[in-house]
C-alpha cells in the first residue's frame, strides 16, 4: 500500500511539468433536445482532446468555455454523438440529438484505461443500462439483478435464501476447479467476490457423506453492491475482449460504472419500494390414509388421533409459505459546479424471507466526487460504505437430518411439531430434528461491513496539435469484515450430543489494486489516429478467516467462550499479482480499427512466483458503410469484426503445497498429512479466444442486429485429480487437459412502433454454447455431485464438460453408465421491452427462456424416501405399485428419475410506471409511481422447487438440487419523487 502511495505521489509531480496551455477561451452556451424537441438532461459536452467539459441541465442547457479552435463533442447514451466547431459569432447553439437504437456511438471500455465507440468495436461487448438493471422490477441484490440480462451468460441462482448467491458463467464453463466466476471491477476497484462458509458443516455434517465440499451455500460478496447506484455495466465475455486484464480475465470481466454527479442544479430524489415476497412454488404433501400410514411404518394410532382432533398440518406450507414484507428506500442527491460535482446516495433495504426469521438488510452510503484541478487534471473519488445482514435459515443438504427440508422430507403432517402451552417443542419421532423448533430457535446470520474506495486520476501531460499524452491512474481498496453467526441452542432436538452449538466466523479481507498507465493519442491526420497505452498493474488479496465452533454451550449463551468445548480454524490467503501491459489502437477513416496489445502477469499463487506469463490480444473491425464499400441505401451501418486474445486463471491458493492438517487427541497436538497432495509445478490455466461477427443497422437505425461466433480454448485446465487414496492422498491439483467452448450470440434491437403516442423498443437475444473436453491426461473424473447412482458430472475426453452421467439398466450399456443430460442449456433467449405511452406511462418487461439443460433433483428423491412426496401413491405406469416405491426401487440401478430437464420460460421482470410531468406543488419536480412483478411467472417442466438451484453454491457444479431454500417471487409498489 505504501508503495502504491509513493508511486502515485511520484506521478503527481509529473502533472506540474507539462506546459500549461494558454489559449483564448470564450463562453459558449447551448440547448440540446431530442428529435421531438424535448430537452435532454445529462448530455455530455466536452472539448475534444481535453478534460474540459460539462453536461446539460434539466432544460437541456449548457455553458462551457471553449478555446478558439476547440471542437465540441456532444454525446449521451442512447443518442448519436455529434461533434461541431462553434461558429465564432454563435452564442447560443441549438442541437438536436438523434436516437441511437443500435448504440453505435456508445463508448465502450476496451483497454484498461482506453475506450472506443461501439461502431468501431472488434468484440461483442454486452452492456446493461441502469434502466435495464434496476428500472423494471428491482431484484433484492445486485447479482440477482443481472439474471437474464447478459447474452452469452449462464446465470443461475443457487438458493432462494435472502442475500442471494449466484453463479455467473460467461460463454460456457471456463474452468472446472479453478475460478469460474468473472472478475468484477467497480470504478476501477477489483471487487472481492469470495463466498465464505459459515461453518454450518459442524451441525449439518453435509461434507461427511458422498461429497466432501461444504454445502453451506453462502452468498457471493458482490451481492453487497446497490444496483440503484449503477449507471452502466459492460461485460467482457472472454479473453478476446478481456485479455488486457490478463490472468484474472479467463472467466470474463464485468465492468461496473457507478453514477456520478453533473454540473447543474442540485437534484434530490427519493425512492421508496414496498413489496411482498412469496414462495414461487410448493411441492405439496402426500394425501394420507390409514393404509398408507400403516404401509409407511408410521404410527397409525397417532394418525387417527390427529385426524379426529383435526390436527393434520401442511408443514411445507407452514415452513415456506410466509409472506415476506420488503421495503427499500433510497435518497439520492446529485449536483455540481463547473469544477466539482458529486453524487451521493443513502439506501436502506429490509426484506423478509418466505421462511420465518429469515431476511436481508442492506444499508449503503455512497459518495462519488469529481474535481477538475486544472484544465488538464481531473480527479475522481468513489466511496461506498455497505452494511448488510442476511438471515439465511438452515437449508440444503446435510447428513444429520437437521435442515428444514431434510427434516420435512420424512415428517408426516399428522405428527405434532408445534410447541405446547409451556412453549416446549415436542420431539419429532420421524426425523432427527423438529424443523419448526429449529426454525424458531436457530440463527444463521451473515453480516458485512464493507468499505470501497476508488481513485481515478486523469492528467494531460502533453498536448500538441496532433498528439496528446495522458497519465491515467486508477486504483482502490476494497475492505470488508464479514461476521457469520450461527446459533443452535442446547434445547434443540438434534443438540442432545453437542448440548448447544455456536459457530462464530470472522473474516477480514483487504483487496488493493492499481493501474498506472500512459495513454497517447496521435492524430496523424483527420483520417488516421493512434492510441497507445502502457502501464503497470498490481493486485493484492489479504484474506483471513477465523472460525470458532463451540459446543456444550452454557444455556442461553451465545459467546464461544461460554462453552465446554471449542474448536478453532483459521484460513489465511495472501496473493500478489503484478502485470505490465501495452496496447496500440489505430483507426483509419473512422472505419478500420486495429487493436493489438499484450500483458505480462505473474502471481504468488503460481508454482514459480517470479515467472511472467504472456497474454496477447489483437482485434480488427471494419465498418463497411463508413469505408464506403456498402452504399448507405439499405444499411445505415455494417461492420465486420474479429478479435483474438489470451487470458489466464491462476491456480487456487495453496495448490502448490502438500500441507499437514491439525488433528489433536485429548490435548495432544497432532499433525496429519492433508488429503490434498501439492503440485509444486502448478501453472495458470490459459485461455485463447477467437471471436468474429458482424453488426448491421437498417431501416434508418430502427433495426440493428449483431451476430457473433466464438471459439474459446482453455489449455492446461486445473483439475483436482482423484488419486488412488491408498497413497494417503485423495486429490491433487493438476493441469489436466484442454477444454473448448464454442458458441453463437445473436442480438437484435428494434423500434417496431414509433408514433406520436406510443414508442416500443425491444431487444431480443439468442445464445448458445457447446463445450468439449478436447484433451484429458488423467482418467475421467467424477465430480460435483453424489456419484453415478444419483447422477453426476464427469470430465471425460471427447465429451461435453458439463455432461451428467448416471447408472442405467437399459440394454447396450456394458458399464451400466450412460449420459443422462447436460447442465448446458440447448440455447437461451431473452427479450427486453419497453413500451411508452404519451411519454408518461411506461411498460417494461424482461422474458428469459432457457431451453434444455438438466438438473440432478434429489429433493424429490428424499421426499420419496421419507414417504412424503405428493404423488407417492399415484400409479402413472399402472403397475399396481405406488410411483414413490417404483422410484425408490430404481436407486442403484438407474439415475433416470433424478436427472431432470430444467428448462424454463420466465417473466423475470414486469414493471409499469407512470410519470407525472405537471405537479401542483413547485418544490416537487417529478413524481413517478410504479408496480412491478419479479420472477412472477415461470413455465417449467422441472419438478423441484425451482429450476434454478445449486446445492454446491457458486462454481462448476450448478443444478444439483438437495432441499434448497425455495425460490421466491416478489410484487412491489414503487414511488419516486424528485425535488
Amino acid at each position: 500500500m505504501r508503495k502504491l502511495l509513493t508511486t502515485i505521489a511520484g506521478c503527481m509531480i509529473l502533472f506540474l511539468l507539462p506546459c500549461s496551455l494558454l489559449a483564448q477561451d470564450r463562453a459558449v452556451t447551448g440547448r440540446i433536445t431530442d428529435a421531438k424537441g424535448a430537452p435532454i438532461q445529462g448530455v455530455s459536452v466536452v472539448v475534444r482532446q481535453t478534460n474540459t467539459g460539462t453536461s446539460t441541465d434539466a432544460d437541456g442547457k449548457f455553458r462551457l468555455n471553449v478555446p478558439a479552435n476547440g471542437i465540441l463533442v456532444i454525446s449521451s447514451t442512447g443518442y448519436k454523438s455529434q461533434s461541431l466547431k462553434p461558429d465564432a459569432g454563435a452564442a447560443d447553439i441549438q442541437i438536436k440529438m438523434e436516437d441511437d437504437i443500435a448504440r453505435l456511438d456508445e463508448v465502450v471500455v476496451t483497454g484498461l484505461t482506453t475506450n472506443v465507440k461501439r461502431r468501431n468495436l472488434a468484440n461483442s461487448v454486452a452492456t446493461i443500462s441502469s434502466k435495464q438493471l434496476d428500472g423494471v422490477a428491482p431484484a433484492q441484490t445486485f447479482d440477482q439483478a443481472l439474471n437474464g440480462k447478459i447474452p452469452g451468460a449462464y446465470i443461475n441462482s443457487n438458493t432462494g435464501a435472502p442475500g442471494g448467491g449466484l453463479s455467473v458463467k460467461l460463454r460456457g464453463v471456463t474452468s472446472i476447479y479453478g475460478n469460474t466466476q468473472p472478475l468484477y471491477v467497480v470504478d476501477g476497484v477489483f471487487m472481492d467476490n469470495t463466498a465464505t462458509s459459515a461453518g454450518l458443516n459442524a451441525v449439518t455434517s453435509a461434507a461427511a457423506g458422498g461429497n466432501a465440499s461444504t454445502q453451506d451455500n453462502p452468498s457471493s460478496r458482490i451481492a453487497d453492491l446497490r444496483a440503484e447506484d449503477i449507471e452502466n455495466i459492460e461485460i467482457l465475455k472472454g479473453a478476446s475482449a478481456a485479455a488486457i486484464y490478463g490472468s484474472k480475465a479467463a472467466a470474463g470481466v464485468i465492468i461496473i460504472t457507478t453514477k456520478r454527479g453533473r454540473q447543474g442544479k442540485t437534484k434530490v430524489s427519493f425512492s421508496q419500494d414496498l413489496g411482498v415476497t412469496t414462495v414461487r412454488r410448493l411441492l405439496g404433501t402426500r394425501p394420507l390414509n390409514e393404509e398408507n400410514v400403516q404401509a409407511q411404518g408410521w404410527d397409525v394410532n397417532e394418525y387417527k388421533a390427529a385426524v379426529a382432533a383435526g390436527k393434520v398440518y401442511d408443514y411445507e406450507k407452514e415452513m415456506y409459505g410466509e409472506q415476506g414484507f420488503a421495503t427499500n428506500s433510497i435518497l439520492r442527491i446529485t449536483g455540481g459546479s463547473d469544477k466539482t460535482s458529486f453524487y451521493f446516495s443513502a439506501g436502506h433495504k429490509d426484506e423478509q424471507g418466505i421462511i420465518k426469521r429469515t431476511g436481508y438488510k442492506n444499508n449503503s452510503l455512497r459518495l462519488n466526487l469529481d474535481h477538475r484541478i486544472s484544465d488538464n487534471v481531473k480527479i475522481g473519488f468513489s466511496t461506498n460504505f455497505i452494511n448488510s445482514s442476511a438471515d439465511r435459515g438452515l437449508t440444503g443438504n446435510d447428513n444429520a437430518g437437521v435442515t428444514y427440508g431434510i427434516a420435512l422430507s420424512s415428517t408426516p403432517g399428522f405428527t405434532e411439531l408445534h410447541p405446547d402451552a409451556a412453549g416446549d417443542y415436542p420431539r419429532n419421532k420421524y426425523a432427527a430434528s423438529n424443523p419448526i423448533e429449529t426454525r424458531d430457535k436457530m440463527k444463521n446470520n451473515e453480516s458485512v461491513n464493507r468499505f470501497i474506495v476508488g481513485l481515478n486520476l486523469d492528467a494531460i501531460l502533453f498536448k500538441g496539435s496532433k498528439s496528446t499524452t495522458r497519465f491515467i491512474g486508477r486504483g482502490g481498496i476494497d475492505f470488508y469484515n464479514l461476521y457469520t453467526d450461527a446459533q443452535f441452542p442446547s434445547s434443540l432436538q438434534f443438540q442432545t450430543v453437542n448440548k448447544g452449538t455456536t459457530i462464530q466466523g470472522s473474516t477480514r479481507n483487504l483487496n488493493t489494486n492499481y493501474i498506472l498507465s500512459l495513454v497517447n493519442n496521435f492524430n496523424v491526420s483527420e483520417k488516421l489516429t493512434f492510441t497507445t497505452s502502457a502501464g503497470i498493474t498490481q493486485e493484492t488479496v489479504d484474506y483471513n478467516n477465523l472460525l470458532n465452533v463451540a459446543t456444550q454451550v452454557i444455556s442461553g449463551q451465545s459467546n464461544v467462550d461460554q462453552a465446554g468445548a471449542l474448536t478453532a480454524q483459521q484460513f489465511r490467503q495472501k496473493v500478489q499479482d503484478n502485470g505490465i501491459f501495452i496496447q496500440e489502437e489505430a483507426t483509419l477513416s473512422d472505419a478500420l480499427t486495429l487493436t493489438a496489445g499484450v500483458r505480462f502477469d505473474r502471481s504468488t499463487n503460481n508454482g514459480d512466483p517470479d515467472k511472467y506469463y504472456t497474454y496477447p490480444k489483437a482485434g480488427v473491425s471494419w465498418n463497411l458503410t463508413r469505408a464506403g464499400i456498402l452504399g448507405n441505401n439499405i444499411f445505415e451501418n455494417f461492420k465486420v469484426r474479429a478479435a483474438y486474445g489470451q487470458a489466464g486463471n491462476f491456480p487456487a491458493y495453496g495448490s502448490k503445497f502438500t500441507s499437514m492438517a491439525v488433528s489433536n487427541i485429548t490435548g495432544l497436538p497432532g499433525s496429519v498429512v492433508n488429503t490434498q497432495k501439492g503440485e509444486p509445478d502448478i501453472k495458470p490455466e490459459t485461455q485463447t479466444e477467437f471471436e468474429t461477427g458482424f453488426d448491421f443497422t437498417v431501416f434508418k437505425g430502427r433495426l440493428s442486429m449483431e451476430f457473433t461466433y466464438y471459439n474459446k480454448n482453455i489449455f492446461d485446465f486445473l483439475l483436482q485429480n482423484t488419486l488412488p487414496s491408498s497413497s494417503g492422498y485423495t486429490t491433487q491439483w493438476v493441469n489436466a487437459g484442454d477444454l473448448r467452448n464454442q458458441g453463437i450470440e445473436i442480438g437484435l434491437t428494434a423500434q417496431p412502433i414509433v408514433t406520436r403516442n406510443i414508442k416500443w423498443t425491444t431487444s431480443v437475444g439468442f445464445w448458445l454454447n457447446r463445450s468439449k473436453v478436447t484433451k484429458l491426461t488423467i482418467p475421467p473424473v467424477v465430480l460435483g455431485s453424489f456419484g453415478v447412482a444419483l447422477g453426476t458430472f464427469q470430465i471425460e475426453q471427447g465429451k461435453s464438460a458439463t455432461q451428467i452421467i448416471g447408472l442405467t439398466d437399459e440394454a447396450g450399456y456394458p458399464t451400466h453408465i450412460r449420459i443422462w443430460g447436460d447442465q448446458e442449456p440447448r440455447f437461451q433467449m431473452n427479450s427486453f421491452n419497453e413500451i411508452t405511452f404519451k411519454n408518461n406511462l411506461s411498460l417494461r418487461f424482461l422474458i428469459h427462456w432457457k431451453n434444455g439443460g438438466e438438473n440432478v433433483n434429489l429433493t424429490n428423491l428424499l421426499n420419496d424416501l421419507g414417504g412424503t412426496s405428493a404423488d407417492f401413491d399415484e400409479d402413472k405406469n399402472g403397475n399396481k405399485v405406488p410411483d414413490g416405491v417404483d422410484r425408490i426401487q430404481k436407486i442403484g440401478s438407474t439415475a433416470v428419475e433424478f436427472v431432470q430437464n430444467s428448462s424454463y420460460l420466465r417473466f423475470r421482470e414486469i414493471g409499469l410506471y407512470y410519470s407525472f410531468n405537471r405537479l401542483p406543488v413547485n418544490f416537487v419536480k417529478g413524481l413517478r409511481l410504479g408496480v412491478s412483478l419479479h420472477n412472477y411467472i415461470t413455465i417449467t417442466p422441472y419438478q423441484g422447487y425451482d429450476p434454478e438451484v445449486s446445492n454446491f453454491g457458486t462454481g462448476f457444479s450448478t443444478g444439483i438440487d438437495v432441499d434448497p431454500f425455495p425460490a421466491s417471487k416478489q410484487a412491489a409498489f414503487h414511488l419516486n419523487v424528485d425535488f
Binding site: 437430518g401 499437514m660 487427541i665 488412488p724 487414496s725 494417503g728 467424477v782 421419507g866 425408490i888 436407486i891
Partner: protein
C-alpha cells in the same frame, strides 16, 4: 512525438522496475508442509506425527463399524439424509455395493491416510538427528504396529479383492495384494514392529487410550494382541496361542482391559462418531431384531441393545432396540481388548482340540455375563458354534460378526429381512484403485 515517446519509454521502464522490484512468495500461511517434517524433524515434530496418527485412527471409525454392523446384520442404520445404508449395504431391491460409495471410499481413504502418516513418521524419524537409535526404534515400532492394524481393517472390508500393502511412494504404488498374502504381509509387519519395540525407548506421549500400554513393553503387548487376531484370521492356531502369551491376555482379567480410541471436546479433537443418544429419530442405529431374539435369557449383554420408547421404521425395516454400546459422545472404542483375546484363546484351543480349555474360556465369558456354564456337547463343532455365539454378543458393534461368519463360511446363516436383500461377502475396491 519524439519527445513524447522518449518520456514515455523512460516512464515505462521506470514503472516496470517498480513492478519487478518487489519479488514475493508468501509460502504456506496456514499449516506446516510435509517437507518441514522430512528435513530434520525435532522430537516435538515427531511427537506431533504420533498424535496425528493416533487421532486420525478415529476418522470414519463410525462408518467402518456401521459397514460391518449393517452388512453383518448386527444392526440397521437409518439416515434421513442418505438412503444407501438401507439400499446398497443391505442389497435392497436391485442395488449393489458401488465402488464409488462413501461406505468404502471414505473408510478406505481414512485408513490409508493413517498409513501415510505412519510412513511419514518412519521416514522423518529416520532423517532426524535429534533422536538416538533406541528412540528411533520406538517411533518405528509404533508406526509399523499402527500401519499393520489399519491395513487389517481395510482388508476386512475388501476381503478377496485385496489391499495395497506397499504405499510408501505415492507416485509409484505397489500392487494390490490378494487376501491371504495380504494377511501374511500384515503379520510380518507386526513382527517387524515387535522387533523394533524390543529394546526401544518410547519418548512420545500417547493418549489415555493406551493407558497401561504406552511404553515399549506395553506397545509390544498390544502388537502381539493384534498378531493373535491376524493369526486366527489365518487359521494359524498355534501361532495365535504364542502371540497371546506375549500379549496382555489375562484369562480372568477385566474384559475391558485393552487399547482404545479415546474422544474429547478439545480444539481439533473428535467426538465418538459411533454414539447416538437413545430414542433418536432420523439418524439412528438400531439393533437387528435377531439380536434380542437370539440372546439367552439373563444375558446382561442385552443392555447393548436397549428398548426404545417407540420402534423405528424405514424402508420396510423395523426395530425397537437402539444400539447402546458406546453410551456417550466421549465413550471410548476398543482397538482390541481382553474379552476378544479370551475369545481368541478359546477359538485357538478349540481348533487345536484342547476342548476343555476352550470350553473353560467360554465359560469365563458366559458366567461373567450372567449365564450358566456351557452345557452343550463337548465336540469341536458344537464349541465352535458356541464360540461364535459368544463372539457375537461380546463383540457386538465392535466390527466382528460379519468377519467371523465369513471366516467360518456361514454368511448364508444371516437373516434376510426383505425379499430382494443380499448378504455381501466383500466391498469393492474404490474406483480410484482400479
Amino acid at each position: 512525438m519524439k519527445i513524447v515517446m522518449k518520456k514515455y519509454l523512460i516512464l515505462f521502464a521506470a514503472s516496470s522496475l517498480i513492478a519487478t522490484a518487489c519479488k514475493k512468495d508468501y509460502g504456506n500461511l496456514n499449516n506446516p508442509t510435509e517437507e518441514v517434517f522430512l528435513a530434520n524433524a525435532t522430537r516435538d515434530q515427531l511427537n506431533n506425527l504420533v498424535s496425528g496418527t493416533e487421532s486420525t485412527l478415529r476418522n470414519n471409525l463410525g462408518l467402518y463399524l456401521d459397514d460391518i454392523g449393517v452388512v453383518g446384520r448386527e444392526m440397521y442404520r437409518f439416515s434421513g439424509a442418505d438412503p444407501r445404508y438401507v439400499t446398497d449395504l443391505l442389497g435392497g431391491g436391485e442395488s449393489t455395493l458401488s465402488n464409488t460409495g462413501f461406505y468404502i471410499t471414505n473408510v478406505w481413504s481414512s485408513r490409508y491416510r493413517v498409513v501415510k502418516n505412519c510412513n511419514l513418521l518412519e521416514e522423518a524419524a529416520g532423517n532426524s538427528t535429534y533422536i538416538n537409535d533406541a528412540e528411533k526404534k520406538g517411533y518405528e515400532g509404533f508406526a509399523k504396529t499402527i500401519k499393520a492394524y489399519q491395513l487389517l481393517l481395510t482388508l476386512n472390508l475388501t476381503y478377496t479383492n485385496g489391499v495395497r500393502i506397499d504405499v510408501v511412494n505415492a507416485e509409484q504404488l505397489g500392487p494390490i495384494v490378494e487376501y491371504d498374502q495380504a494377511l501374511a504381509e500384515i503379520a510380518s509387519l507386526l513382527d517387524e514392529g515387535k522387533t523394533d519395540l524390543s529394546g526401544a525407548e518410547v519418548v512420545f506421549p500417547l493418549s489415555a487410550g493406551f493407558a497401561a500400554f504406552s511404553d515399549a513393553p506395553g506397545l509390544a503387548k498390544f502388537n502381539r494382541a493384534l498378531a493373535a487376531r491376524v493369526a486366527v484370521y489365518r487359521k494359524q492356531w498355534d501361532a495365535a496361542l504364542t502371540d497371546l502369551d506375549e500379549s496382555f491376555l489375562v484369562l480372568n482379567g477385566a474384559f475391558d482391559l485393552g487399547v482404545y480410541d479415546v474422544f474429547g471436546t478439545g480444539s481439533g479433537d473428535q467426538l465418538n462418531p459411533a454414539f447416538f443418544p437413545q430414542n433418536q429419530a432420523g439418524e439412528v442405529r438400531l439393533a437387528h431384531p435377531s439380536y434380542a431374539t437370539d440372546i439367552d435369557a439373563n444375558d446382561d449383554r442385552i443392555n447393548k441393545a436397549t428398548l426404545r420408547n417407540a420402534p423405528a421404521t424405514s424402508s420396510g425395516l423395523t426395530s425397537d432396540r437402539d444400539v447402546w454400546v458406546y453410551t456417550s459422545s466421549t465413550a471410548q472404542v476398543p482397538l482390541i481388548r481382553n474379552e476378544e483375546l479370551i475369545l481368541i484363546y478359546a477359538e485357538a484351543k478349540i481348533q487345536t482340540n484342547a476342548l476343555t480349555e476352550g470350553r473353560d474360556a467360554l465359560n469365563t465369558i458366559r458366567t461373567r455375563h450372567g449365564l450358566a456354564n456351557y452345557g452343550g456337547a463337548l465336540t469341536q463343532g458344537a464349541l465352535i458354534d458356541e464360540m461364535l455365539k459368544q463372539r457375537r454378543f461380546s463383540l457386538f458393534f465392535e466390527g466382528h460378526r460379519w468377519l467371523d461368519l465369513r471366516r467360518y463360511d456361514r454368511l448364508n446363516t444371516l437373516p434376510i429381512d426383505r425379499p430382494d436383500d443380499d448378504i455381501w461377502d466383500k466391498f469393492p475396491l474404490p474406483n480410484t484403485e482400479q
